[in-house]
Amino acid sequence: MMIEALIAVTFLSAMVVLAAPERWAAKLAFALSLVPLVGSLWMYSVFEASGNVLLGGPLAFETKVPWISLGEYQLHWHVAMDGISMAMVVLTTVLMSLALLSAWTPIDERRSQFYGMMLFMEASLLGVFTALDFFAWFIFWEFVLVPMYFLIGIWGGPRRKYAAIKFFVYTNVASLVMFIGFMALVFATPVTTLGLPAITEALLAGEVSTFAGIAPETLKLVAFVAMFAGFAVKVPMVPFHTWLPDAHVEAPTPVSVILAGVLLKMGTYALLRFNFTMLSDVANTLAIPIAIMAVISVIYGAMLALAQRDLKRIVAYSSISSMGYVILGLIAWNMYGVAGATFQMVAHGLISGLMFMSVGVIYNIAHTRMVGDLSGLADRMPVTSAVFVSAAFGYMGLPLMAGFAGELFIFLGGMQSTALPAAQVFTAMAMFGIVIVAGYLLMAMQRVLFGPFRADTEHEIVPAAFHDAAAIVVLILLVILLGTVPDLFYGMIQDAVRPILAAGGGL
């Protein structure tokens, strides 16, 4: 019942905050968000699962009760955790509490609605990472859109309405495409449930029949492509990425933190669960096209970031290239690759959160994010500048920071991959992305932070407020902690990845 309690507490907190008076909302929401945070950390401390939620084995906190029967089909309320879910759940709760802390300065109107929406989003994100019955999972998956729409649409920048609608419709279309692909798979297998483990089992056993006149192999291919397209929008991969910069640039800082830190991971998480675990044979056949898309995302995303003049846009585009690494790790299809990709999801969640928070603090104080308008900030805001530099180094993959561990595992996996033809070439090309990343980050840093002080803004440049700096400092400690002791997460992720590779014929 722990998972239900976690989701329910968050959901109820959201309603309480929504109804709370404006002046209490911020502190109340932060205090309430500590409950799921402590809960998830406690779950982490007693976590003993070593299986994979789709493939069986010892799982943690499992519940399964009948929910809706539809003729011959039975839907369940089914939740459980393995190492991958656990990592994502901890990431979600940690990042949400810190994001709420970082919202105190920039959010100055309709606070109770803002914090309520953030907690609604947390509740549904927790559901996405733990639900094991398709409809329950899909409810959480789709519900994420609702608070996000309001968060961008109400508290966003000047073009917020356009960005909100674009995000909403774009990602909803993606979900529908995915839905059709997945349902075709369900009906082509002899299962009478929408439970993801049962469907995975049937698919891996090859129990796919001809459906609507489509041969099993073709059907699996079509379903794979439909689901891949659906999830690739969320990731986002080039060429499905165009909603992301709009959404990111318009979203207020705390929302950007969650968007980049957790929401994008929904895409890679779902790819890992659905495409790569359920249809690993198709993933192997399509390895080269997927690898090409991943490498293009890495290089093209980095080049786009290089071309930006707005600090937030730089960070936003850099997410595209970071998520490209994750896809590359998945398609490498060995322990280092897949577990490294999962680790990188967490690492990128923390580091991108750090980047967005630093940029947010600069913007709160200077009221501009343009690289050309600012110079020599290091003199006036030393702490913020220091964390910005650390975040940038983390992004570049400096050793002893979480990003290094994640990228290292992915590249090791890529170089050793036997499943992906010409894996070394793809990996080498992707590694070139690091150079570009270093290029644009160093350039941005050098121009904004160092050199003679100058700010084309009428606002005075002062050091950041304590609560802003606190959130950032906690985050940076976590990045270093995870970078120096990756086994805090890596071991349990490996446990959950091992069955995937065994079932898919790897290792």
Binding site: I68, S69, F138, K161, L176, I180, F187, A212
Partner: protein, 493 residues
């Protein structure tokens, strides 16, 4: 223990109409609004409650026939009576404030109750005669109700348009019925079902024409293409509670008749090769949802947008007929059951949406999207309810519309009509755009003018919030609805 008559829900509605008329005759004072609304509400609520009780008790799992088989009480008729009863309750509760200052209140409530009686009978009609009579019983009061605001030009014009299209489609339908009678020699649905098994080859053409013409009547009642022209005008001109009533309850009843008549009298496994009527619905469903959604997307008037979206939803539900016979019998049950579930949830969320419009009309807010700007600052609770309706209609998981819509798509996919599901999915994505325009106006936009919402109409508020609570609540407690709908579908298949 006294056994209630099987037709109790229908009797209750008819009785309500008569009591209303009687009370209005004895005490013809327009100050009696509260009592009249109370009687109507009690009648609607009792109908819904008794239907739900019968459904839960499994009364309709067998089938009880009355009047030599002309009416039948089974899970399906109870299911649709429950929808009609619930929608009627919401509508009369909201009408308490809406018609307070209008003349002829007694007639208004009794017309609603009479129309509801007709709709409830449509669900139970098992002979082409009762089909026609109940359909007219539902339609005639509806024409009058649409034109109830008789000093309002739009209302009168809407009623006229509705009446003319209605009369035309009734004429077409009754001609179709006569052709079917001529060919089969019976009006009972199961009798027709037996007669079409060994039909003389020369008569197939006439029977096919009869089915086609009769289908016209159903398409009119459900506001499906090409008999949808009346819908936007009628919904826009009618008093908003009546728009909700016609677009939810009347539509559901139309589908109830269509499901029963087509599936019982013209089983697709028997006449599918000679009169493949499912293909008619494949085409009509695809066109209806596309046309409805595209037209809704370009509207500037919220009520009109809802009217076109209602056409779009008729298109989704038509998938329930279109995908029949394509796959296994389990697939048929799932897709038809999902169509029924969608109608039930739609009854709450769509009525709720129209009642929110009634609220806006009550406050004197204009009708365009701009006029709704910033409404959430004035009325946050009602706006929250409207947000639930809009997102639930769009198929987002804030309400049970999510489940019913996706089960419908899933059913279509299971029946092998994945491309029809794909068309529906594209439409669904488009619908998110225009539904979220309302949400955007209410929550995100700044108010352009000072709207005074100082008056709080209890009845409308009660109905709007009640509908929202049910819409959200069903998301978690969907199992009974799914069970009932699947049972009902299994009975007619």
């Amino acid at each position: 223990m006294v056994q209630l008559p099987y037709l109790t829900p229908q009797y209750l509605l008819a009785l309500t109409a008569l009591v209303l008329l009687l009370y209005d005759t004895i005490s013809p004072n327009s100050r009696q609004n509260g009592v009249l609304a109370g009687i109507a509400t009690t009648g609607g609520l009792l109908t819904a409650a008794v239907s739900a009780w019968f459904l839960a008790a499994g009364t309709g799992l067998g089938s009880y026939e009355a009047f030599s088989g002309a009416l039948v009480v089974d899970q399906m008729s109870l299911f649709f009576t429950f929808i009609v009863g619930s929608v009627t309750t919401l509508v009369v509760v909201a009408s308490y404030d809406y018609v307070r200052d209008e003349p002829h209140i007694g007639e208004y409530y009794s017309l609603v109750a009479l129309a509801a009686t007709g709709m409830a009978l449509m669900g139970a009609a098992n002979s082409l005669v009762t089909v026609f009579v109940s359909l007219e019983l539902a339609s005639l009061p509806s024409y009058a109700l649409v034109g109830y605001l008789k000093t309002n030009k739009g209302s009168v014009e809407a009623a006229l348009k509705y009446f003319l299209v209605g009369a035309l489609s009734s004429a077409i339908m009754v001609y179709g019925i006569s052709l079917i009678y001529g060919v089969t020699g019976t009006l009972l649905l199961d009798g027709i079902g037996d007669a079409v098994v060994d039909l003389e080859p020369g008569l197939v053409g006439i029977l096919g024409l009869g089915v086609l013409m009769m289908t016209g009547g159903f398409l009119f009642k459900t506001a499906a293409v090409p008999f949808h022209f009346w819908a936007p005008d009628a919904y826009e001109g009618a008093p908003a509670p009546i728009s909700g009533f016609i677009s939810s309850a009347s539509k559901a009843a139309g589908f109830a008749v269509a499901f029963r008549v087509l599936l019982e009298a013209f089983p697709i496994d028997v006449i599918g090769t000679t009169i493949p009527w499912t293909w008619l619905f494949v085409i009509v469903a695809a066109i209806t949802m596309t046309l409805g959604n595209f037209a809704a997307a370009v509207q500037e008037n919220v009520k009109r947008m809802l009217a076109y979206s209602s056409v779009g939803h008729a298109g989704y539900v038509l998938i329930g007929l279109a995908a029949i016979g394509g796959g296994t019998s389990e697939a048929d049950t799932l897709v038809l059951g999902a169509a029924m579930m969608h109608l039930l949830v739609y009854g709450f969320m769509n009525t709720g949406a129209f009642l929110f419009i009634a609220l806006a009309e009550y406050w004197g807010v204009g009708r365009t999207f701009e006029d709704y700007n910033g409404l959430a600052r004035r009325a946050p609770v009602a706006s929250l309810a409207m947000t639930v309706f809009m997102f639930s209609l769009a198929g987002l998981p804030v309400g049970a519309g999510f489940l019913s819509k996706y089960f419908l798509f899933a059913g279509a996919i299971q029946a092998g009509f994945w491309w029809l599901a794909a068309i529906a999915a594209v439409n669904s994505a488009l619908s998110l755009y225009y539904y979220s325009r309302v949400v955007k106006a209410i929550w995100i936009e700044e108010p352009v003018s000072e709207i005074s919402v100082d008056r709080t109409p209890t009845g409308i508020y009660l109905a709007v919030i009640g509908a929202a609570v049910v819409t959200v609540g069903l998301l978690f407690a969907f199992d009974p609805v799914a069970q009932w709908a699947i049972d009902a579908a299994a009975i007619v298949l």
